[in-house]
Subunit: 243 residues, 4 copies
């Protein structure tokens, strides 16, 4: 078994999670990445390995306690100590309040908030035994603002931010750095490109869409902060974004 | 069937919900009050009736969609139009992060946030048909701050606040007033008194503990606001509270 | 000399200050109102007196310490104890950052923030001797948000909010209620009407513009709050306002 | 004349300003540093030069418009283009509200807020001609919270934050990055050490006091951010700080 430190990214299905995994792998961390199912992770794993890094993929439903517990057990036993956890699952939906079903409201919360709690709690358990670690959460505009039509998404993201803040206050003094990144703007993904190709073509060349590697750089820098000056929350948005 | 307007208070198990029900009943509203089970509501109902008001009690698990839907159907059919909804269910618990179980985290969220969403959504449905109504949510310090040990409670209360804000932005322009009340301090309840009798005896005589009738007065005033000047959020705390 | 309580409104030059003065006068308070110069206050004084109230007008530059000190001395000596202070001076301007002169930046701050500090400090002095009183500040959207072009106005209003919050924390436990009202939307004034008559004619009949009497009602209710449940901050906006 | 880019630090009288100047000088920027008077800057200049960097000191009262205008003219003419402005002047005082004099209130605002506005405005002017630049403001706990006894300091710091936010919204889309750093905790300075040596000796060895070099690193990283992912606000506090 390797004793290299692990950076575990929960939700590496989108551009951001993958970029973060690559950034930490580049620094010598073993990247462990998860999605609901493992096969779609293969291109990311190949990419990291081609660049000389180490990477492992896991299928894990981040909302299911037993699966999350098993994931941490497996990684800690077979791969290495989880030094960094990045929780990066979203669930952005928009429905009018009367058309928001109980099922959607609950599911979005399970993805945005419950899964974040479960994974961060398991990370805290192993990090506390070592007295060190970093836990990073991906937030969104909806973490701070309940916009019209966003009751489900904003409830989930507000809840996740509360978990991050509560954990920071409890775990900071135990040498575990907990931070929350508010991403305020569109991220450069295939989804964004397909949804509005004209807008994408206008914005992308002038850096009007968040570059996943630029996002990842901030996660890395948060992890590198000297513990006399830790950040709990940053916002990230394109220079030309209205806010 | 009476055509008197209904003020529906979800969670009239504590001092605050009861005081709010009494306040609206005093103004001529038919008070409909709920708890998980109906029998413990009897003293409150008797109190309102003795004062000349009208009151009905309902056992309803506010976290269960079918029960909530049935509650609104029954009230609208048998009692009168729901003009005011007050959501007043809490769930204040404190556990260190590693001792917060999935069951607790989920249950507190269901009480604080999911139940608020379900009841407010059903209220919105009937209010939208009439183009009027008031929806009031009870918040707490944890609505704005994720304190150490409060990951579950703060996640639930942050989520509820997001729901309130999202609904306000969507429903305000449809003439439905949605407001969120942040109660920051101990409320005068039997629980508070028993937990720390000495502190209670010190604070109560000098108004250092939130008086439920004083809280209720603010809910009434929010409901009375002229629609050219609606409030979305207020805080309430004792004059001597540290914050 | 009368011993009737005084409600002192600093900045009764607009619709809001006048409405607040009338509201308190209606409840039996002696309304003392100020503007830079006294003559324009005559219609307001006549209006209050015609309704059976008592009112006094004062020319006072609220930014000048000696004038403020003299104002409080005169009122306390000749009219009655200042039970309520309302600070209601604005200074809404919009300039791009490079076109914001030092003179404008300073002047707007003196009106929005320094004057609020000076008047509230003098009020605190007399209120502390009696162990009671209410101090209310008028805020704006710019109290919470630094919008583009609003560096001067937002700096002044943010500063005033900081003063209000600091005073609330210090003076609350000394039985002086300090609250801050965030007015988020256009108020029904001659200025608003003239600036965009078409918009005014569209919005006014449907309560889309803040009614000064509706605003005033909230100041009165804040003053009436039981001290076990004091509010520090409320927002006020028309039901149909986007926010 | 050199064409090297200038990093201008207003208020390099404390540990933080000096560390920031050193950090940018290390990367090849010409460090221009100011205090009220120039002589006390000599040790810092010597330090930077000894490390192979370039540095210039200026006596400049940052609250006086003509001096600020002259400073920018001189630097742009004689030294190089101001690529980065760091505004780092504080003014932390604590007085009860009744003991806060007009002179103190005004002076603290001039230091915290007016000076920040003046320097940032002049920086914006030259940066806009080049379509690029970074403006960084040093904030404090009082930027977000009006604590008891901090009416003057919080008013100044809230005002500065409003300026930063307003400028960010206006200048971001013009390719000028404006960010605000909320420093929440004691910084390692001679002042802190002398005020409470015992506490200093307890906290310093365990990184319980903000290290100026660690702070400076964050200013540098903010400057380096890719413009598709700019941060407007970060907080910095020691891992063990209560908040």
């Amino acid at each position: 078994m390797s004793t290299k430190k692990v950076a575990l990214v929960i939700g590496a299905g989108d551009a951001t999670g993958g970029a973060i995994a690559r950034r930490f792998a580049r620094e010598g961390y073993t990247a462990c990445v998860t999605r609901r199912t493992a096969p779609p992770l293969e291109p990311l794993l190949a990419q990291i390995r081609a660049a000389g890094g180490q990477a492992h993929g896991f299928g894990c439903d981040a909302r299911v306690e037993e699966q999350v517990v098993a994931l941490f057990e497996q990684i800690e036993r077979d791969i290495g100590p989880v030094e960094v956890l990045v929780f990066n699952i979203g669930g952005n939906v928009n429905f009018s309040i009367t058309e928001t079903t109980e099922r959607v409201f609950r599911k979005v919360w399970e993805m945005c908030c419950l899964a974040g709690f479960l994974n961060a709690r398991e990370a805290a358990k192993v990090m506390l035994t070592r007295g060190r670690g970093t836990i990073l959460f991906t937030g969104a505009t909806a973490s701070l603002r309940g916009g019209s039509g966003f009751s489900a998404f904003a409830a989930g993201k507000h809840g996740l931010r509360a978990v991050a803040q509560s954990m920071a206050r409890e775990l900071g003094p135990q040498n575990i750095h907990v931070a929350h990144v508010v991403i305020d703007g569109g991220i450069d993904t295939a989804f964004i490109q397909q949804r509005n190709p004209q807008r994408y073509d206008d914005l992308k060349p002038v850096d009007g869409i968040l570059n996943p590697d630029a996002i990842a750089e901030n996660y890395w820098q948060l992890h590198c902060q000297h513990r006399s000056a830790w950040t709990h929350e940053i916002d990230l948005r394109p220079w030309m974004e209205k806010w």
